[in-house]
Symmetry: C2
Subunit: 148 residues, 2 copies
DNA sequence: CCAGGTTACATAGTGTTCCTATGCAGTCGT
DNA sequence: ACGACTGCATAGGAACACTATGTAACCTGG
């Protein structure tokens, strides 16, 4: 397992992290990308889940997710019900309003960024799709396998 | 200017933002990606700068950058000197320790992510480079031109 | 040359997001 | 049925970022 990972890949990954971080900051400032939006997206993608499962998927702590869900429930974007068979647990699901809010935010962000891509860069849709695929697959698997 | 941007691009950009946000969070948790690191990287890239210039490049407010620079100076990673000709201004520069810290963090992040890419995805170095290019060019230009 | 506007930065106060530590009720295995 | 584990809540605190505001220095027009 001592195959040296190519330096070019290491550098690229380092840059990837840096630019992803900057993009996230820029989006938070000029558009919108709250912690809540990530939760809505997770529930949209995976269906109803418990708090701990959500925390795991978003890679945050369980108390953080509890607080996030609490806020979203207050705004009417999530519904939290007791788990039918396990009385400790909860089941959190998107409400119609939450679903609508997610669509709205996605559209707003998507259109703003897409406009930038078209007007200020030479990148094609395929290249953006490649970027999305790289990021997605990087996050796809579970985080800790072998680091117990 | 009413050319409809293709829906596929809008969707891709929306996903791009979401995944970039998740990656940033994951990195912050398991590896490292503090606000300070972004500042170090900016100074490494652009050379010595004033506080306001740094804030503009990082797309944060000037007070936020003041605080960030203050912390980094305390840790010995930045040197802040009065501007030679404009006595209001400062010139912030990387110290040798700051430079070393940046290299260390970059390596740590790069190697960790690169290992993930190799072991858990099918993506090539070229694809990662494409992703980096998309993100970089998206952030390259100034933010507000036409939104005064 | 000097008032008024602008610029560079600092300070104060606040909100969001995230963490660790801890407690407690419910579940499960032996 | 007793101990270990799990799912969640609460408490306390740190990092990060904002707006509003103050102050000193620079610049410009009369």
């Amino acid at each position: 397992m001592l195959v040296a990972t190519e330096p070019a890949l290491v550098d690229a990954c380092s840059d990837l992290v840096m630019y992803a971080s900057r993009l996230t900051r820029a989006i938070r400032r000029r558009h919108e990308m709250s912690a809540g939006l990530r939760v809505l997206a997770l529930l949209d993608q995976h269906g109803p889940l418990g708090i701990t499962q959500l925390a795991h998927l978003d890679r945050c702590s369980q108390p953080t997710m509890s607080a996030a869900v609490g806020g979203l429930v207050e705004r009417g974007w999530l519904a939290k019900e007791p788990h039918p068979t396990d009385r400790r647990g909860s089941v959190v699901a998107l409400t119609d309003e939450g679903s609508a809010e997610l669509r709205r935010a996605r559209r707003a962000n998507g259109e703003a960024i897409a406009a930038r891509v078209r007007e200020r860069t030479d990148h094609t849709t395929d290249e953006v799709l490649t970027a999305v695929a790289v990021l997605r697959d990087l996050l796809e698997t579970d985080d800790d396998e072998g680091t117990p």
